[in-house]
């Protein structure tokens, strides 16, 4: 029983971070109706940015949260503005611009191979003051880097949600997500909104990179590890839904952690996909997705 409760604690903490990796993806999809295949690579860029920052300056790992996400915001903002926007313009009349998906896949390959060229294939970890630290609560052990990651993840999700419902820009994002032509007619600059959505989505990948780095390692194709999960989470929670992504993340984290107490951990992957299939059959739009999203 102790092991199961321990697994639940760990599953929720990891799950929130899985949710965080999916948050940027779901935001970009919600607003632009584009599946961003480069999302994992952007996470990798975030992790490398955090890695070098901590490694070279020796600052506390969570101070990197002040630097990396803003950097990645501009990275994403201009990536959308320079690479994706032209394609988008060419495909203006199409509901789901497929070519953009191909562009993001291209970005994925370019970023991964660029990292491979610059940093080599080896995996790197940072030794920080909190790496490997934990505290005990009775019989249970809580890892400090993971708990911090959990807190940051929840805070990011809440922050993003507040931004979406309370601010003018957030409402513009929502309006574009609902109907981009109508939003355009109301005087919202569609492409500026896309830049913003992409920038924020990438910044969130940067936040995820900062909180994962203290307990995981980074290498050029590390994005793939989190990417596939992020896609499942996004669909599970409902495309474009913030709380859906967080809930989806926690569910995946719990399955992974708790089920592996009763069976070989290699099986949990299969169970995640089985649950995913069942959800697709029963509720294809995910937990919080609207029936007709666009």
């Amino acid at each position: 029983m102790t092991a199961v409760i321990q697994a639940v604690i760990n599953g929720i903490m990891m799950g929130a971070m899985y949710g965080l990796t999916a948050l940027g993806l779901t935001l970009i999809f919600g607003v632009m109706k584009v599946v961003n295949f480069a999302h994992g690579s952007l996470l990798m860029v975030g992790m490398f940015a955090a890695y070098w920052l901590i490694k070279l300056t020796g600052i506390h790992p969570y101070l990197s949260l002040l630097v990396v996400p803003p950097l990645l915001f501009f990275f994403g903002y201009y990536m959308q503005n320079l690479l994706i926007k032209p394609v988008f313009r060419a495909e203006q009349q199409v509901r789901e611009p497929l070519t953009v998906i191909i562009v993001t896949t291209g970005v994925w390959y370019v970023l991964d191979n660029l990292a491979l060229m610059l940093f080599g294939a080896e995996y790197r970890t940072v030794k920080t003051s909190i790496t490997g630290t934990s505290f005990s609560m009775g019989d249970f052990i809580v890892s400090i880097p993971k708990l911090s990651g959990f807190v940051v993840s929840v805070a990011t999700a809440v922050g993003l949600w507040l931004f979406m419902v309370k601010t003018r820009t957030g409402k513009a994002l929502q309006a574009t997500s609902l109907d981009r032509e109508a939003a355009n007619l109301m005087g919202i600059d569609q492409y500026r909104i896309y830049n913003l959505a992409f920038g924020i989505g990438t910044a969130i990948a940067g936040i995820a990179g900062c909180v994962i780095m203290p307990f995981y390692y980074v290498y050029p194709s590390v994005g793939v590890v989190f990417d596939i999960r992020a896609f499942i989470i996004v669909v599970l929670g409902g495309l474009g839904s913030i709380h859906g992504a967080m809930l989806g993340g926690v569910i995946i984290g719990l399955i992974e952690s708790v089920f592996s107490q009763f069976m070989p951990s290699t099986w949990t992957e299969a169970i995640i996909y089985a649950v995913f299939l069942v959800i697709l059959f029963v509720k294809p739009s995910g937990f919080f997705g609207k029936k007709q999203d666009w």
């Binding site: 092991a3 052990i141 590890v225 992974e256 107490q261 290699t266």
Partner: protein
């Protein structure tokens, strides 16, 4: 300048490049012998793949500098690389490509047993000799193949020696260990080890309290470690690829899991990056390797120093196997005096290499048995220890190879 004209210019450049390449190839260059090399150069096992690549590079540079293959008019060796990404399917496609398109005369690789197993099958079908430095799954040389030769000890020997080590150490220290947990990556390598562990554990009377495969690319190994904590074994047996070795060691420290003895099986644990990243968390871990920097063989120190100066880290057992494999190939080509696959195969089969730079390995001669397995491949067990404030891998078993003055910490945790 318009895009079209840039395009034309580039096309022109490419054409010139092709022309010169075509001209210089057969006309001016000395004869080269192409050796195809499939390794995990990206993905989770990339760092060990790159180490194997660099060890091969150094050996080939030395061989070429010393006049190449003399019986073939000083022909140079040329390595042609392909990235398997640790994926068997990619490994097979790349082996096909190297043989058919690159026209390689020999093959070597692939580190992962799961990749080597089907890749050697491709080479066998085409009749291309395949020298496997590491990839230890037994069955790689147990299919009656004619063209497959392996330098490293096979996994049944590795497992046998892990259990001998455990028994010897218990006899030596008087400590009795009863329960055992098996934790291994779910590829060919890990499952192959686990199968043999189970049989030997039964024979030696250990009680198995956990038998846990895990995926090497897991984003979190806490669930596995939680299980390990609940099972509370005396001995933990590990098989890990590169990155997961670090993750599992660090997570065990974080979750305060302290088995009396932890025995790893090389691979990820033998990677120099492992100690760098796991640090003190790895203290007193036992690891099984074919070679260690403190091995007492002529030339070993110098070769390691040359390697370290070139690439910035120590040789490992696996990179020594890769290094040695190049000398085995050169030796066979020298005796075959031909690149005809049949003759090269015959020469490889007749290998009896006991001199030269390849002898930095821990044993005295390289000979293949009928299955293509190196008969003499040997194994040592090292312990991660703090030597003068520096983490070091110290040879502890067999007892006659133990570093002078070192007393193994056994058990590591009371």
């Amino acid at each position: 300048m318009s895009y079209a004209s840039i395009g034309k210019r580039l096309l022109g450049l490419a054409a010139i490049g092709l022309l010169t390449a075509g001209l210089s190839g057969p006309a001016f260059a000395q004869k080269t012998i192409k050796i195809g090399n499939v390794e995990p150069l990206s993905g989770p096992s990339a760092s060990v793949g790159v180490q194997g690549k660099q060890a091969r590079e150094m050996a080939v540079e030395e061989i070429n500098k010393n006049g190449g293959i003399k019986s073939l008019g000083g022909a140079k060796l040329e390595l042609v690389y392909a990235d398997s990404k640790s994926d068997p399917t990619v490994g097979v496609t790349e082996t096909e490509r190297l043989i058919n398109t690159e026209k390689v005369q020999l093959m070597t690789g692939c580190w992962n047993s799961a990749v080597t197993y089907p890749a050697t099958q491709v080479a066998e079908r085409y009749g291309v000799p395949f020298v496997v430095p590491v990839a230890v799954r037994d069955t790689i040389t147990e299919r009656g193949f004619k063209y497959v030769f392996r330098i490293a000890a096979k996994d049944s020997w590795w497992v046998r020696d892990q259990f001998r080590f455990l028994k010897d150490m218990q006899d030596e220290t008087g400590v009795k260990l009863k329960t055992m947990a098996l934790v291994f990556e779910n590829g060919d390598w890990g499952t192959g080890f686990a199968e043999k562990w189970r049989a030997l554990a039964k024979k030696d009377g250990y009680e198995l309290v956990l038998d846990e495969p895990y995926p090497s690319t897991a984003s979190d190994l806490t669930p596995v470690v939680t299980k390990l904590k609940a099972a509370n074994p005396d001995i933990v047996m590990l098989v890990s690829n590169a990155a997961d070795a670090i993750l599992i060691t660090n997570t065990m420290a974080e979750m305060k899991v302290k088995p009396k003895v932890t025995v790893a099986s090389g691979g990820g644990h033998a990677d120099p990056k492992f100690l760098e990243n796991a640090g003190k968390n790895a203290l007193y871990l036992f690891d099984e390797v074919e070679w260690n920097t403190d091995v007492n063989k002529p030339g070993a120190k110098e070769t390691n120093a040359a390697f370290k100066a070139k690439y910035g880290y120590d040789l490992t057992g696996e990179s020594v196997d890769a290094y040695v494999a190049m000398y085995v190939i050169a030796d066979a080509l020298e005796r075959a005096a031909s690149t005809d696959p049949e003759k090269v195969r015959a020469a490889l089969a007749a290998t009896k290499l006991s001199t030269g730079p390849a002898m930095i390995c821990s044993y005295d001669s390289i000979e293949f048995d009928e299955s293509g397995q190196n008969k003499n491949a040997g194994i040592v067990i090292v312990q991660v220890a703090d030597v003068n404030g520096q983490l070091d891998r110290v040879t502890v078993w067999p007892k006659n190879a133990r570093r002078a003055g070192y007393t193994p910490v056994f058990p590591a945790n009371k």
